[in-house]
Amino acid sequence: MIGREVALAAAGLVALFVGLSVVVLSLVWLERKFLGRLQGRIGPMRVGPFGLLQPVADAVKLILKEDVVPAWADKGLFWIAPILMFVPSFMVWVTIPFSRDLVIRNLDMGLFYFIAVSVVSVVGLVMAGWSSASKYAILGGLRSAAQLVSYEIPVIMAVLGVVMLAGSMNLLTVVDKQASVPYILVQPLGLAVFLIAGVAEVGRTPFDIYPAESEIVGGPFVEYSGAHWAIFFLAEYINTFVVALLVTLLFLGGWQWPHLPGVWAPVVVLVKTYLVVMVIFWFRATFPRLRIDQLMAFGWQVLIPLSFVNIVLTGIQLYYRWPSWSLSLMSLGIILAMAYWQYRTQTAPAQALARSYSQRAYSQRRGA
């Protein structure tokens, strides 16, 4: 009996590992192709049809590459750091469902488990930064500590909003509750906070402060090469996928799709997730990078208050039993107000300035 359980768990883990590798390879390919198309090029074309084997070739290259350890590095920490980053991103999958049955272990406190485990990865980053004995890496490690710790709060708060609506931390229940209306329609503000903070958590553009290529040339990863770097890379892409998957499960209704039999559940989840991932890639093609102080200010002064507002609004709606569209309206109102405020304080003054400059150049010509 116990033997069967163990065998099942082991089989599940193997399947998970293989599945994750395929997911990461597909993400790499998708990112390169999608970014290429956004940027007016075609992306990889040489290895395999449509460059499909490009990520495989990259992986082989990375594994075969010499794994250089800097002479002054703290060797122990240097080896452990990638693993510390990779293991949590692997562990969260234990409780993430792809359908009602397709889940390794459904936990009642699934969301709590997810948050608790995913926080650990920051330790790996700081460790990597510190043990590399490189100044760029140290800067990156400290940046990652500041960034990840502060953006963890809005993530938790946004998740809490969903938990309040669903009345459960069980991911299956959360998805089941969205059978008629996905929470994106009820809590657009929660989705916005979660997506932004989630992107910041995985350190992708515009929040790629700690690997910032043009400033600290890769941050904590600067001294890593070969297979160890590949593990970081793997973890990063898995984390991105996890964020997208959680957006799908928490806000987009998971495997719910009208008039579709249950067999399609994993496909629906995957399609939705890949769409969210593409949105994250789209960010990368569009935005420059924030500065560290702006990142912190945005986190503490905008995202965290907004996530609290989201929770308070949800509480009010639930307590007074207002219809759920009232919450959507309030959320949308806040999002629009934020966008307008951003436009008024940033874009509009710059545009006015540009107009005045143009007029000045023109009048100078008239005068001359």
Partner: protein, 370 residues
């Protein structure tokens, strides 16, 4: 005995460059940083020193042009122009009008190409990935045209003392007109992508500001000076070639911060297109080379000539002893002067700002080090 151990924090010395993605070549900055703040910065140049000025003394005048190609390797035609004009002024050569128009067209297109490169790399400096690809797509059109005209994509060696090497291909006007439409569309696309992006604005507005007086003291020229509100442009103030017959604006900004410098260059691209359009209409038929002796021997004397390079006021001081080779060539490189206020700009900013500031003054190390 108890000893009180004083916890003291020291500044971190961070070496940026000479191999660093943000230093645009082989430029090295030593930063003293306190957390994320830059306390002090010490620039080191000279990694690309080739002794161009000295080499000029050993080459004939026609050969110097190739050395000038390699100063500011982003704006080759503009560099060729200034050395050719110096020799011509010394010799008193009248350049045929068609050659002058060809030169101006090529220089202005080169200015667009250079500013496009700035646009792209500036996007990269700020952390945006797409601008550089958009910019290179547009720049490629100009490079292809240059290849059709001079046979080379860079280092053209096309301008001659007394004119240009050969006439442009017969379909030149047609080609230029075609790429101008494409360029305008592409530039507008670039403009929409980055110029008023909220994150880009917050990264660049108010960063690295310098006022007009300080800028003049440091010897800034070109877009970096005009961003502070000084409408100084050699093309207007000391017109050369046919610029006095052309109508164009000199964009001027006010605050002298990174965004102003960026915006100014984007606007200059539109003005350059305008100039090229006019040149195509006005360009006469005729010879493209003045009647000269095969080997140029300027009379004894000295001359200073300056032109508006994409990076500013590029000057050449040329001394001739009457022989086939110059006695002395001194270059006044705008990039070098643009580097001067680096300490002034960077003290007290964030590490990330350093990259943005260095990108915004748009230096080319080939010209800084010579």
């Amino acid at each position: 005995m108890t000893t009180e151990k004083q916890q003291e924090t020291v500044e971190l010395l961070l070496n940026m460059g000479p191999q660093h993605p943000a230093t645009h070549g082989v430029f090295r900055m030593v930063l003293w940083i306190d957390g994320e703040r830059v306390v002090d910065v010490e620039p080191h140049i000279g990694y690309l020193h080739r002794g161009s000025e000295k080499l000029c003394e050993g080459e004939s005048y026609a050969q110097i042009v190739t050395l000038f190609d390699r100063l500011d390797y982003i704006a080759n035609f503009n560099n060729e122009l200034v050395v050719c004009r110096a020799a011509e002024k010394l010799m008193g050569v009248e350049v045929p009008e068609r050659a002058q128009y060809i030169r101006v067209i090529l220089c202005e297109l080169n200015r667009i190409a250079s500013h496009l490169l700035f646009y792209g790399t500036y996007g990269l400096d700020a952390g945006a990935m797409t601008p550089v690809l958009y910019a290179f797509r547009e720049r490629e059109r100009i490079q292809n045209l240059f290849e059709a005209v001079s046979g080379a994509r860079m280092m053209h060696n096309f301008f001659r003392i007394g004119g240009v090497n050969e006439d442009v291909p017969p379909d030149f006007g047609q080609r230029v007109r075609r790429i101008m439409g494409e360029l305008r569309r592409g530039m507008e696309e670039c403009d929409r992508l980055l110029s008023f992006n909220e994150i880009f604005l917050s990264r660049t507005r108010g960063i690295g500001a310098i006022d007009a007086e300080t800028a003049i003291d440091y010897g800034l020229t070109g877009p970096n000076l005009r961003a502070c509100g000084v409408p100084y442009d050699v093309r207007k103030d000391d017109p050369y070639e046919v610029y006095d017959r052309l109508e164009f604006d000199v964009p001027v900004a006010e605050h002298g911060d990174c965004w102003d410098r960026y915006w100014l260059r984007v606007q200059e691209m539109y003005q350059s297109l305008h100039i090229v359009e006019q040149c195509l209409e006005q360009m006469p038929e005729g010879p493209v080379m003045a009647q000269l002796r095969r080997i140029a021997r300027p009379p004894k004397g000295e001359v200073f000539v300056h032109c508006e390079n994409p990076r500013g006021d590029l000057g050449v001081y040329l001394v001739s002893d009457g022989g086939p080779k110059p006695y002395r060539v001194k270059v006044r490189p705008p990039s070098f002067c643009s580097l001067m206020p680096l300490k002034h700009l960077m003290r007290g900013c964030y590490v990330a700002d350093c990259v943005v500031i260095l990108g915004s003054i748009d230096i080319v190390l080939g010209e800084v080090d010579r």
